[in-house]
Symmetry: C2
Subunit: 372 residues, 2 copies
């Protein structure tokens, strides 16, 4: 279980196509994972996620621990059964959410005390507790409990935080025993400080995980800083393990990161922006609320085969958003996810043809890549 | 076109099973029509409505005239194409909405001046205009523009209003020419005054329509008053035409009304209450937000075969509502509609077996029929 088999390496770039085997099926990488924070990918049914080719979804320890509670999910037979998704699931450890959502938090060597964003109640997460919650939830891939340092942050703070994250990673591994049922991934931190990133990856690899995630990027730093950090890490990433860049989901970031050896992505961006009417298309990004689409009877994206693009006009989608009808955000979310999944398919083709750098060049300069 | 063929009349009750042929397919009655006010049945996709056996949906002239505009819908190829529903559609004339939604209205013989509930702008609907809008929208069944008098109302007011509605019905018929493409139904008014109801139905039949609707009931009067009015009308309803009771959708009302010769129903009730977590089940009505369902891992309704009941627990559905996740209202809406469609199927069985009165007796006294 949890073997990562490389099927193809692009001769131009080193970008990879691989297969990661889990108890709920094989994941072909590069892969974009739709985010189902609260045990549901907002507005969508699992059958629709299957239709658009989603292979694995992500859910959140922090949210599910607070509501409905990991014990209930365990009693229901685990997260797969609870939410009716019979394919692989990855749960984030809650580390990022504790730092980004909680109004109050106190970090000690033992763990983090924080306040619920729902009712203000106080809670405590540690490497042991976060891992145990993820064992209860039963995802195929679970994440080490880390501290995601903010950006910008002082060198000394990021260094101390990164070192603590290493000690926490070891404690997560010590807590997690059933390595046949769940793969525990380590998380590399170190901000945008090259030496800290290198120390973090070397030491995390020593602990030995079946996959490695890069955390603490795409948190506000300029994208050149992010790409530089990925370049610094690239020579150290173990070839025979999947490489997961956390929280990244804009099309250009995905293309640039795959060219730097990244295999897995997740982000709320496609669904969150969809709910505001912002859509990725092969002709560039559009906001459907724009008055110019009022009488536009063409499909949203003539290159797309999703339910929205096959059956509806831009004018209808705009009408749904103007009338505040739920079907609007729903169809838009479906489309944006399909777009990103199709993008990973186009990337795979480029890798198979040893043309990832050409694909990147073309994509980044295309009208399709209008920046967010 | 628009032939109404009676397939079976219940020997016990006179309740009927029939088939109404339209350009977009045959509707088997008794039928419940899900309401898609703004060219979408809230939260649901047409493919899901097909899955639960919806035969025809209702949409609204008032809403679509104001937004996105009937001219745009016409340009899009009509409502069926615009909203991707390739089965029959019925549009209400806007009469009811002008009286129930608009802040201001002024009724004259010519028509009604009213204010948009969206932006307060002033508009005017007449029998001719409402009919022309419905011709633009292109539904299979369109409705005469009527005045739905409030309840309670003085006899003199209801009489004058009913008489004007008769004159308006003739003007609608005069405007509507293409009787092969769209069936124009007349609407019987008269409040809860028996003589006015009888005058209304006799005079409406003289104008001659392919179907007759009963309006102005279920608008606040006690249900006994509604049943009495239906009993008064029953002997006058033409046997070879469909009988549509407007705005009625609670399970007991449907059962009681079919036993009184009604064939067609529509109501926002199943979807509106679903969005608040209130669900029809074969064990009675429940509100899923009730704390007793927090750890209830059984299906919502073990007698139901909808996507929600087949794949999820009550605890999961409750979690979705507590977490304000869109999938909650969506799955609940699907279930409530499936429940009502299944109820019409159970009614058909009873009619085929000449047991409609027994079925009614059993249903009305069952735990399933907890009143709203």
């Amino acid at each position: 279980m949890f073997e990562y088999k490389i099927k193809k390496v692009c001769k131009q770039s080193g970008a990879r196509i691989g297969e990661f085997t889990t108890p709920h099926g094989v994941i072909e990488t590069p892969v974009f994972m739709p985010v189902g924070t609260q045990a549901t990918v907002k507005s969508l049914a699992p059958s629709e996620l299957e239709d658009i080719g989603a292979q694995i979804i992500l859910s959140n320890t922090y949210h599910l621990y607070l509501r409905p509670g990991n014990k209930l999910v365990k009693k229901a037979g685990g997260l797969h059964k609870f939410m009716n998704w019979n394919h692989p699931i990855l749960t984030d450890s809650g580390g990022f959410q504790v730092f980004s959502l909680s109004g109050f938090r106190k970090i000690t060597e033992e763990g983090v005390e924080f306040q619920s964003h729902i009712d203000g109640s106080k809670h405590f997460l540690s490497p042991e507790i976060a891992t145990q919650i993820q064992i209860d939830l039963g995802a195929d891939i679970i994440m080490a409990f880390d501290e995601c340092a903010p950006w910008p942050a002082e060198y000394d703070y990021v260094k101390k935080s990164m070192e603590r994250t290493l000690r926490w990673a070891q404690r997560c591994k010590d807590t997690h025993k059933d390595t046949e049922k769940q793969a525990l991934f380590g998380i590399i931190q170190g901000g945008t400080y090259d030496d800290l990133r290198i120390e973090s990856i070397k030491e995390t690899i020593k602990i030995d995980f079946p996959g490695y995630a890069i955390g603490g990027l795409s948190v506000g730093e300029p994208k050149e800083e992010m790409y530089k950090s990925l370049d610094v890490l690239k020579p150290y990433l173990p070839e025979n393990k999947p490489h997961y860049l956390m929280g990244v989901g804009s099309p250009d970031y995905i293309v640039e990161s795959v060219a730097r050896g990244i295999d897995m992505f997740d982000c709320v961006l496609p669904t969150r922006t969809a709910r505001t009417g912002t859509l990725f298309t092969s002709h560039g990004k559009i906001n459907i609320l724009n008055a110019k689409y009022k009488e536009d009877l063409s499909p949203l994206d003539d290159q797309c085969t999703c339910y929205l693009c096959k059956n509806y006009s831009r004018a209808y989608l705009r009408h749904l958003f103007k009338a505040k009808e739920m079907l609007g955000p729903r169809l838009a979310s479906l489309h944006n996810l399909q777009y990103l999944i199709q993008l990973t398919n186009r990337i795979k083709e480029a890798i198979y043809e040893d043309k990832m750098l050409e694909f990147r060049e073309e994509f980044i300069n295309s009208s399709e890549n209008k920046p967010f």
